[in-house]
C-alpha cells in the first residue's frame, strides 16, 4: 500500500529498450503498423507483384519463327497468337468450365451455408466446420485420383447406377455431345464434378460468413412488411449474401481458370489454360505465349469484379 501511495502523478518508464519501444509505439502507432506489415509488403511487393510484372513484360516479347529464340522487343504479336483458333478454343473451354463450376458451386453451397449460418448450433456447427475443412487437409492429388477411380467405368458410380438399374441414364448423358464421352472419368462432366468438389469449401465459407452477418430481425421485418419467404429470399437474404457469393466465386472462378492438374487427370485431355501455360513455358519453351496466356485469367477477373461492382454486388458492404 505504501509503495503505491508514494508514486507520483507520472509513473516511471518500464525501462530498457522494451520500455522505450513501448513509449515510442504509443506515440507513433502508425510506425508499429508499418513495421508489422513490412514483411508481407516486401513479399507481396517484390517477390509476388514483381515477378508477376516480369511475367507480364515477357508477354510483350515474341518467339522468332525461324530460330525459335525469344526476341526482346516490344510487340503485340504474341497476344495475336492467343486469337488463333486452337488457342482461342483453350480460352473459351477454360472460361466456360470456370463459369459453370462457379454457378454450380454457388447453387450447391448456398443451402449448406444457409443451414450452417442460421440453424447449426453447438456440435452441429463443429460437424459443419469439420466437414468443410477435412477435405482441405487431404492432399489435393489424392483427392483427384480418388475421383478418377470413382468416375471410372469400373468405378463405384457406375456400379451404383447398375444396382439401381438406371445405367441407361448415365449412357444417355455420356452420349450427349461435348459434355459426354466414353466414361465419366474422361468427359467434361467428370472434370466439372471434380472441380465442383475440390473448390466447394471456398464457396461455402464466404457465403456462410455473409449470411451470418445478416441480422435475424431483417428477416422478421421483411415478413412483417408482407414478404413471403420466397420474396424475403430474393429481396433481402440474397442481396445481403451476394458479397459472400462474389467472394466465393472469385475463388472458384480463378482457381478453375488456373488449374492444370485436374483436367490432366480427369477429362478428355483437351488443354485448359493452366496446361497451356505449363507446356508453353516448359517443353515448348515459348515463354512469351505462356505469359500471354497467364494474362487472360487476370484480365477476366478484373472485368468480372468490375462488372460485379457496377451491378451493385458490393452495395451491402
Amino acid at each position: 500500500m505504501t509503495a503505491l501511495a508514494e508514486a507520483g502523478a507520472i509513473l516511471p518508464s518500464r525501462g530498457g529498450i522494451v520500455g522505450a519501444l513501448s513509449d515510442l509505439f504509443w506515440r507513433r502507432p502508425k510506425l508499429l503498423v508499418f513495421l508489422m506489415v513490412l514483411p508481407a509488403l516486401l513479399w507481396l511487393g517484390i517477390v509476388y507483384v514483381g515477378s508477376l510484372f516480369a511475367l507480364l513484360l515477357q508477354s510483350f516479347f515474341y518467339i522468332d519463327d525461324f530460330s525459335g529464340l525469344i526476341v526482346h522487343e516490344f510487340s503485340l504479336r504474341t497476344y495475336a497468337e492467343l486469337f488463333r483458333a486452337q488457342n482461342l478454343d483453350i480460352i473459351i473451354r477454360t472460361v466456360s468450365m470456370a463459369a459453370v463450376v462457379t454457378v454450380a458451386s454457388a447453387i450447391v453451397a448456398f443451402p449448406v451455408a444457409y443451414w450452417a449460418a442460421r440453424y447449426a448450433r453447438g456440435p452441429w456447427k463443429a460437424v459443419f466446420y469439420l466437414g468443410i475443412m477435412l477435405p482441405l487437409w487431404a492432399s489435393y492429388l489424392v483427392k483427384v485420383y480418388a475421383w478418377k477411380l470413382i468416375l471410372a467405368k469400373e468405378g463405384i458410380l457406375n456400379w451404383l447406377f447398375e444396382q439401381l438399374h438406371i445405367t441407361f441414364l448415365l449412357d444417355w448423358w455420356l452420349s450427349l455431345p461435348l459434355i459426354g464421352g466414353n466414361s465419366l472419368s474422361i468427359s467434361y462432366t467428370g472434370t466439372f464434378l471434380v472441380f465442383l468438389y475440390v473448390w466447394m469449401p471456398y464457396m461455402i465459407l464466404p457465403i456462410q460468413a455473409a449470411i451470418e452477418r445478416v441480422p435475424t430481425n431483417l428477416l422478421d421485418a421483411s415478413a412483417d412488411l408482407g414478404a413471403t419467404p420466397r420474396q424475403t429470399f430474393w429481396k433481402v437474404i440474397f442481396p445481403l449474401a451476394l458479397p459472400g457469393i462474389i467472394a466465393g466465386s472469385i475463388f472458384t472462378f480463378s482457381l478453375t481458370l488456373g488449374d492444370y492438374i485436374i483436367p490432366q487427370i480427369v477429362g478428355n485431355s483437351q488443354f485448359f489454360i493452366g496446361q497451356a501455360v505449363y507446356s508453353h513455358q516448359g517443353t515448348a519453351g515459348n515463354i512469351p505465349l505462356a505469359a500471354a496466356f497467364t494474362v487472360v485469367p487476370i484480365v477476366i477477373m478484373v472485368l468480372y469484379l468490375w462488372g460485379a461492382k457496377r451491378a451493385g454486388a458490393f452495395d451491402a458492404l
Binding site: 441480422p215 430481425n217 431483417l218 422478421d220 421485418a221 421483411s222 415478413a223 412483417d224 412488411l225 408482407g226 414478404a227 413471403t228 420474396q231 429481396k235 433481402v236 442481396p239 445481403l240 452495395d315 451491402a316
Partner: protein, 333 residues
C-alpha cells in the same frame, strides 16, 4: 365493438420458461396502448405473437375479430417498428419505406409518391436517396416508422422504438408519436420498460411481470391505485410499505404504497406526528430533491420541491402525509 387486438388466455412457453402465462388483453381500435415491464417480463414476446413472428403455446389471439392462429406475419395487416429499426442496409431510405408497396406490385410512380409522403410525415422529406448507414439514430427511427405506416396497417406495433435515443430526442419523439397516432387514427401498441414513457404517451397501460399481466388501466389508475407491490414499485418508484408498518399507521395488516411526493418533510418537533426519522441521503434532481429517510428501520423515499428549505443529511425530521395518500394493496402474503 370488436377489439383491435384481443388475447384470451395466451401462453408462450420456451421449454420450461414461461415467457407469457395466460395473458388476457383487449386493445380498443384507435387506442394508444402501452405494454410496460422490466426486461424478460413477456411484453416483447406478446408483441411478437401479435405480429406473428411466434405462435402461442396455447390461447387465442384475434385481430379485429379474426383469429390469427397459423397466419404468417406477411398475411397480417399489422406492421412493426423494431427496437433496432431493422432497416435494410442494401436499400436507400426511399426503397426501405416503399418495400411493402413494392411487394404489393404497386406501380413505381405510385410507390415513390407514397414513400415520399410517408417520409414527409416523419419530417424526413428529401432524405430518400440516402442509405440507412448515413443517418443518425433518430433519423433511422423515423425511417422505420415511415416504413411501417406507409402500408396503412390496422395495428402498428412498436418495440421499444425510443430506447436507443438520447433523452432530448426521446422526449420530442414521444410527442411526435402521439401526434402521429392522432393523425393516422391507427391502433398503436407500444412496448417499453420506461414507465415515464408509458404513462405520458398511452391511453391505457398493461404492466407485465414474469410473463403475466399485473394490471391494466389508464396511466392515472396505474400510478395512483397500483394493485400489487410490483406495480407500485415499478411504476414511479413508490414506497412500498410492509404490512407491519402499515398496521402501525392505520391499524390494518396490508401492503400499501406511498408516493414520494405525497410525503411532507418537516424539521423534527414541528408536528405531533410520531413519525420521526433521520435523513440518510439527499440527491438533487433539479425540480425536486430526493431524500432517503430512515424511519425506525424502514427506508422511505421522499421528494420535496428543491426551492424549499431542506434539512441536511443526518438531521432528524418529522414526516407527515394525508391519510388517503396511503394506497392499500393486497393483504399479507
Amino acid at each position: 365493438m370488436t377489439s383491435a387486438v384481443s388475447l384470451q388466455k395466451v401462453s408462450r412457453h420456451f421449454g420450461l420458461v414461461r415467457a407469457m402465462d395466460e395473458v388476457d388483453l383487449d386493445v380498443a381500435p384507435g387506442e394508444f396502448f402501452a405494454m410496460l415491464g422490466p426486461s424478460g417480463s413477456g411484453k416483447t414476446t406478446c408483441l411478437r405473437l401479435i405480429a406473428g413472428f411466434e405462435q402461442p403455446t396455447s390461447g387465442r389471439i384475434q385481430i379485429f375479430g379474426d383469429a390469427v392462429e397459423g397466419i404468417p406475419p406477411y398475411r397480417r395487416n399489422v406492421n412493426t417498428v423494431f427496437q433496432d429499426y431493422a432497416l435494410f442496409p442494401h436499400m436507400n431510405v426511399r426503397d426501405n419505406v416503399a418495400f411493402s408497396l413494392m411487394l404489393k406490385k404497386l406501380p413505381k410512380v405510385l410507390r415513390i409518391k407514397a414513400a415520399e409522403e410517408a417520409l414527409e410525415l416523419v419530417r424526413l422529406g428529401g432524405y430518400g436517396d440516402r442509405r440507412p448507414g448515413q443517418l443518425s439514430g433518430g433519423q433511422r427511427q423515423r425511417v422505420a416508422l415511415a416504413r411501417a405506416i406507409v402500408n396503412k396497417p390496422k395495428v402498428l406495433l412498436l418495440d421499444e422504438p425510443l430506447g436507443a435515443l438520447d433523452l432530448k430526442l426521446r422526449e420530442s419523439m414521444q410527442e411526435e408519436l402521439k401526434a402521429l397516432q392522432k393523425t393516422l387514427g391507427i391502433t398503436f401498441i407500444f412496448v417499453t420498460h420506461d414507465q415515464g414513457e408509458a404513462l405520458s404517451m398511452a391511453d391505457r397501460v398493461a404492466v407485465f411481470n414474469e410473463g403475466r399481466v399485473q394490471q391494466i388501466g389508464t396511466p392515472e389508475e396505474i400510478y395512483k391505485r397500483p394493485q400489487s407491490r410490483f406495480v407500485a414499485d415499478f411504476v414511479g418508484s413508490s414506497n412500498v410499505l410492509d404490512p407491519e408498518f402499515v398496521y402501525w399507521i392505520v391499524g390494518e395488516k396490508r401492503w400499501a404504497s406511498l408516493r414520494p411526493e405525497a410525503i411532507h418533510v418537516m424539521a423534527a418537533g414541528q408536528s405531533a406526528s410520531r413519525m420521526t426519522g433521520t435523513i440518510i441521503s439527499k440527491s438533487y434532481l433539479g425540480p425536486v430533491i430526493r431524500l432517503m429517510i430512515d424511519l425506525n428501520g424502514t427506508k422511505l423515499h421522499a421528494s420535496v420541491p428543491s426551492n424549499d428549505a431542506v434539512p441536511a443529511e443526518g438531521e432528524k425530521v418529522t414526516l407527515g402525509f394525508a391519510k388517503d395518500a396511503l394506497h392499500l394493496m393486497e393483504a399479507t402474503s
